[in-house]
Structure formats: C-alpha cells, structure tokens
Amino acid sequence: MEAFSQLLQQLYFTSSNNEKSRLLRHYLAHTADPDRGWAIAALAGTLKFEFFKRNAVKNLMLERVDPDLFAMSYDYVGEMSETVAHLWPDATTSIELPGLAELIDQFRQANREQVKALLLHYLSGITAEQRWSLLKLGTRGLRVGLSARSVKRILAEYGDVPVSEIETLWHALKPPYRELFDWLEGRAEKPDISGAVTFHPVMLSHPLPDDKATQLSVEDWLVEYKYDGIRVQLVITEQGKALYSRTGDDISESFPDVLAGIEEPGVIDGELLVINDGKIEYFNALQQRLNRKKPTKKLIAERPAGIVVYDLLTDNDEDITSLPLIKRRQRLEHWLSRASANHLLISPLLSVDSNAQLQQTYADAAEDAGVEGLMLKRKDSSYQPGRPSGQWYKWKREALHLDAVVMYAQRGHGKRSSFYSDFTFGVWQDDTLLPIGKAYSGFTDEELKKLDNWVRRNAMGRFGPVREVKKELVVEVAFDAIHPSTRHKSGVALRFPRFHRIRWDKPASEADTLANARALIIE
C-alpha cells in the first residue's frame, strides 16, 4: 500500500502527461501481481466496494467532530477524502498498512460493521497522507488527474500495443488483470474475449461547425433526430445480455424491461427513452426511471423504457464496426426484424435533398419537444471508438434564454473549492422569487472571481455550505429546453442551464417572470 500511496501523491502533483505516464509505468514495472492490477482497477475506476463508501467514512468522521465544523471544513476543502484525512485525530501509535491487494481484499470481504472497524483501525494508525490515499480508494474514481482513458493509453505504452486493442479488451477483463499483464509483458497470447458480454467503447460526435450546414454535400450524409434521452449500448451474446451506459456502467438491473424478451445476438447503439405504446415521452419521464436503481413493477408499467436504435456494432458474432454506416444501417434493420421487440424503435432517416431542406429540417426539429436537434453522420463512416473528426456531428437546437435572479451560492468542488461557483437562480411570481435551476458554468475565470467577490459581499445567511445572497444580481441563463415538472416548486425544470451573461447593470425587479418561463415550454 505504501508504494501505491506514494504513486497517488506523485500523480496528483504532476501536471505533465508524459511524467504521469513515466510514473505509472515505473510503478507497474516494479510492483508484483496482484497489487499492480488492483492499482490499475483503482485508477481506472473499475474497483468498487459494497460497504467502503463515502458515506461510511463520513459517518465515522461525524462521530468524532462537531457536524458544523465538519460541514464548514468540507465546504472549504471541497473533497471528502481530503477533508477526513486532515480532520481525523493524529495517530499516537503507528501501524503498517498491508499490501494493496491484501488491503482491498480485507475491505471487499468485510460487511458493513467490519468495514467500520477496519477503517477505524487503519485511520487511527497512519499519517494524514496515507489516510488520504486509503480514503481515495473507497471513494471510486481517484481523481488524481488520470482519466480511465489515460490509464489505458499508458498500459498500451507499457506493453507497446495499440490503445484500441486495450479498449476492446478492457471491459471483458477483470482486476487484477493478470492475463492482461501476461500479454503486455510478452508471456502469453492476447486474451480471448469472443462471446463475452462486454461493453464496447462508443463513437462520439462533434458539434456542427457554424458554416458546415450550408457547405456539406447532403448526399454524403445521413440525417437523424438527436434524441433527448441517454446513450446506451445493448449487448446480447450466447452467454448472456446486458445494458450499458455510454461510460460502460452496467445498468441492466435498472432496466429489466429493456432486456426482457430479446435473444437475438448483437451489440446495439441507441438512445434510452421512455416509450409508451410506440410513443416517445419527454426526458422528465425517463428521469424518474434514472432516479431508481431498482424500479418497482408499478413504475415500469407507468414508465416503460425502450431504445431508439441507430447503430449496430456486432451482428450475431460478427464485428461489423469497419463497415460503412450505410451498410451497418441495413444490417441493423435486419437485426431488428429478427429481434422483433416492440420497445425497440429504429431512428428514422430524415430525407434531405438540399442544404436548404437541411436547414428547414433543423428548424422543424427545434419545434419538436421530444428531440434536441439533429445528428449528421457520414454515410461512409466506420464505427470508431472516441471522437474521430469529420465523421459525426450533432446540431443542437438553439439555446433558450431567461433573465433570472441569483438566490443562493455554494462553493465549487475540487479545483474550484475556493470559489463560490454553484448558483441557484429564480424568476418572479408576483413579489416572490421561485428557484428554477442551478448553474455551474458559462462564466470565464475572470467572471468567476467577480461572482465570488459579489457573493462574499452580499451574503445574508452565513452558515453551512449554502449562502443565501441579496436578491440583486441578474444573470441571463441559457438552457436547452424547459419542461413542466412536478418535482420543483416552480413547476418547471430546465435542461442544461448555464450562465450566458451576467447582467451587473440590470435591476432584479426587471428579471423574467414564471409566466415568461412557462411560455418557452414546447407543448
């Protein structure tokens, strides 16, 4: 564990990517299995514990510190592991931490109570630095400035293999990745993963550049709607089936209705939505499903989930990612007819014969509450993981705008922990402001400093992480859509709200009203 702890500290304070790669490769070369494999799992975010979690740590801490002081400390530091590492009373006697694999094993074997005991034992015998590393392990996603993708890139460098091969293997392998290291170090063949139920890295799009729509040759492109759901991947093999989020999380348990009744092998790319009798519902309906890890029968009946499918990566057992999109699309249609599932709809192709017609289709899509805009994909595009340039574009509907009044502010987390950077804003209903959303972005660093300063000078409530501020600052917020919502007091919910402009000049009384906001809802 000591070597891993040092690695984390070094990675955290190293900004150069080359240097990070050098550090990690050095660690891999000098650390034995299975420790190094678990280190990779921790860094890439594939290590999970059932009971060693943020909350367990927080509760233990709260038994030892005044809750208000804890809240203020956390608010200031911005991160749980570090807050607790500093707050925990310093050790009087020191103990040695076991090796990483052994330590992880202890925490994985332990039940809820045993995890508490383990934490108590270790935290009270190690230094603040070690506490930080230990706690980071339990709070998934170590955030030491190394993304899962970078870890894979570094593994590829370590074994001198193309990163795409690591990507393809990745989700089929489990920590501590012995067979991966055996291959990377030349002692064994590449692991065989054919038939495994595993996530395949997805292909992403770029925003459409400003003048592109008028210049592209429409005959080279497929045009589809951009749906307002979440991107998913459906994987069905002889060995089983699963539903994954676009980041590779297995979300099968939350959507049993999507997996039910499909046996046709394939890997399908599409958008998860609530689909009632073939009709797609608004994002709000899906939100209710997303909030439930294990949905009730009633919720499933009321909000049945389905997929609008748009791509096929594997047809039966055959990898077809290198075929052009137009061919994959045909294979997808055949696959769908074989699968015969009512809750899978194909994403219709919009017929576009000219650039003018493309513009008109985009304008029409903006009037459609169920979609976010258009997708433009090159007919000859192969399916390439990542974000290859010039292949796929998203053309989102123009943002909507409202002038709202800042009501509450909260410090950001991580890098922004020293600034008030999270803002709740509202609009008027008669003489009252009703909160309609929260925004964390859309301002420059310079503006962030000014906002932070403004909050400090205009705070009213001075306690806890949230500061109420004087209702004097107007911001023009931009957002993708506004929907009716029963979960908010204002009765509306915004999609992707962010700051557009800070109206230092505008009096709060001239901000928008709830009626103005409602008028933007597309029925």
Partner: protein, 340 residues
C-alpha cells in the same frame, strides 16, 4: 468603558473613537497604528504612523522614505498615550511572533483593555521575539487558518522535504514561491538550520527585504540574484526563491527544468496546490493553525473575543460552543491570500 463604545469596525478598518486613530487601515487616514509590514496591514499615504522600528523600516523599504508625513517608532513594552491628555487611550506594543517587527497592540481606555493581535503565530521563528499572551478584556484575533483541517507541521519537516526533492532531482531547478516579507527569510533560515550552506538564489523582488533583515542582524548566508547568473543552466539542482506570482510567468522559463514548489499554509489543501500547478507543496505558515488559535485564546483567556479576517464562521462557532463570548468583526479589505 465597554470596548465596542470606543473601538469600532469602519469602512477603512478598525477605528478607535477615543484616540481618533485607525489600526491597520486599508485606506490612507490621518493617524494609523500599524501591527506589521504585510501589504494588507501596512499601506502608504497615512498622515502619521505609529509602529515598531523594524515595521517602519519595512514600510520605507517598500513605499519609500515619504510613506507617511510623520512616523513614531514604539518599542515592545513601551507605552504612549493617545487622544485627549485628560482622558487618554494608552497604547503598548507586544511581540506577535509573526514576522520581523510584528506587534500586538494593547489599547487601554477607562479601565478596559483590548489587544489587537494583528497576525500572529506560536511556532518558533528566529526572526522575531515570540508571541506573548497579554491579559485583556477583549482579544481581537485573525482567523486566516481557522478550520480544524489546518495543521501546520514544523518548518524543519517541510525544509527537509525540499532538500530530499533536491537530492532526488539533482538536475532540476527548485523554484520555490514565497512571499517576499517574512516567509522568504524564514525559509532561508530553515534551510540553513538543516546545514544547507549552498548559495540560495533570489528573484529580484526578494532582494531588498532580505538586505533589510540582514541589517537587523539576521544572517541569511550567501544569497545570489538570479539576474546576476549569466548561464542559467548553472541553476540546475539549486534553490531559487521567487514571489508566488513568478512561478508561472515568463521569467521562470529561463530556468532549467523547473520543479515548482510553494511554501504556504494553503499548500495543505491539495486542490490549492494543484490550482497553482505546484509539484512540491510545502506547508509553511506565519499564522496559527486551528489548534494554536484555540490554545492561544485559552491562554489569553479574555472576557470576549473579536474575530477579524479569515474563516470567522468556524472559530465563532467553536468559541460559542465552548461558552466563550465571541463576535465576528467582518472587516473588509484583508486579502486572505496576500500574506500567509
């Protein structure tokens, strides 16, 4: 007479009504009492200034000979009377242990004693006499590091960290961000105490105050201006002290394979270090950490505590919970990052 009747927070800082003067005002005023030379406490342009002799020397070094119309130097332990001779406020300076010349100011009026401690610390510092606890009715404390997460390690430990890194990366120039007044000289002395007798290199901004410390009998060993080094590659494996702002500006690009370090109490919070792209954070502070603040207030044991700049919330909460009478003064204009 109750302290809040004659000592009040105003826009320009803490104002003593009975003596018609400000303590550490943030804008030019007629009469100012200055606790110490850090820029957020001592500015130029006051009509008259009372401070310790080293503080006056620091202000002259920074702002020029005409930094005020009249100056009066007051030694530790000596008392002067201010205001109406028939109803005076007596004023005495005591060591604060913060930086060279730093003082706590005791104001006493009609039987009520108030100590304005300025910035202070309890860790040993060879550049100034240690903080002394003064019996008082009201103790005014700063709260720069007033959160229980702040624990300042001994400076030896942090200087060792720097020397270890130097041994580990002998090809890299170790560029350390330090405030020019106080932190710079304390780091030099910390390194000297560990037997580091190599020359230490200075950014131009550090030179004048180091010379001033030397004039006050504080031996800093051999210091060389970076500007005087013709071949900058000679700075590989050497220590260069520079203001924090120079860590990422153009100037640092002339140095060979820079390893960025910074000596500050804020460096304990990793995100802060990260923000400044510091690779080697050194936790060195000229303020009290949480425990030292609480211990000091215990030791002084005043009737009441007033809290000024920093994290007033947490200290106020803790004192109130313990049954100590306390209030936050909410003075504006003291920049939490300007000094530390």
């Amino acid at each position: 007479m109750q302290a809040d009747k004659w000592l009040q927070p105003r826009d320009n800082g803490l104002y003593c009504v009975a003596a018609d003067c400000y303590i550490d005002p943030t804008a030019p005023v007629n009469r100012a009492l200055i606790t110490h030379g850090h820029a957020d406490h001592a500015i130029s342009g006051h009509h008259s200034v009372v401070a310790t002799a080293p503080t006056i020397a620091i202000m002259r070094t920074r702002y020029g000979e005409d930094m005020a119309q009249t100056v009066e130097a007051l030694d530790y332990g000596h008392t002067i009377e201010l205001g109406d001779p028939d109803d005076p406020v007596s004023c005495t300076f005591y060591p604060a242990g913060h930086i060279l010349g730093s003082a706590q100011i005791l104001l006493s009026y009609r039987g009520t004693r108030v100590v304005i401690s300025g910035d202070y610390k309890r860790q040993p510092d060879p550049t100034c006499p240690p903080f002394t606890a003064i019996d008082c009715d009201v103790f005014i404390t700063e709260a720069t590091f007033a959160l229980p997460v702040f624990k300042h390690p001994p400076i030896e430990q942090e200087c060792k960290k720097l020397l270890q890194s130097l041994a580990l990366f002998p090809e890299r120039c170790h560029l350390v961000g330090v405030y020019a007044l106080g932190k710079c000289q304390r780091m030099i002395l910390g390194l000297r105490a560990l037997g580091y007798n190599q020359p230490i290199y200075l950014h131009g901004a550090q030179r004048r105050l180091c010379d001033l410390y030397e004039e006050h009998g504080i031996r800093l060993g051999q210091l060389i201006d970076v500007a005087d080094v013709a071949d900058k590659s000679e700075l590989a494996g050497e220590i260069v002290l520079a203001p924090p702002s120079a860590l990422s500006d153009r100037w640092s690009r002339s140095l060979p394979e820079v390893r960025k370090a910074m000596a500050s109490g804020w460096m304990q919070i990793r995100a802060r270090a990260h923000q400044r792209q510091v690779e080697l954070p050194l936790i060195v502070s000229d303020h009290c950490d949480w425990q030292a603040l609480l211990d000091t207030i215990d030791e002084v044991s005043p009737g009441e505590v007033w809290i000024t700049h920093g994290r007033e919330d947490a200290l106020l909460h803790q004192l109130t919970t313990k049954g100590v009478k306390a209030r936050a003064l909410s003075l504006i204009g003291y920049d939490e990052d300007a000094t530390d």
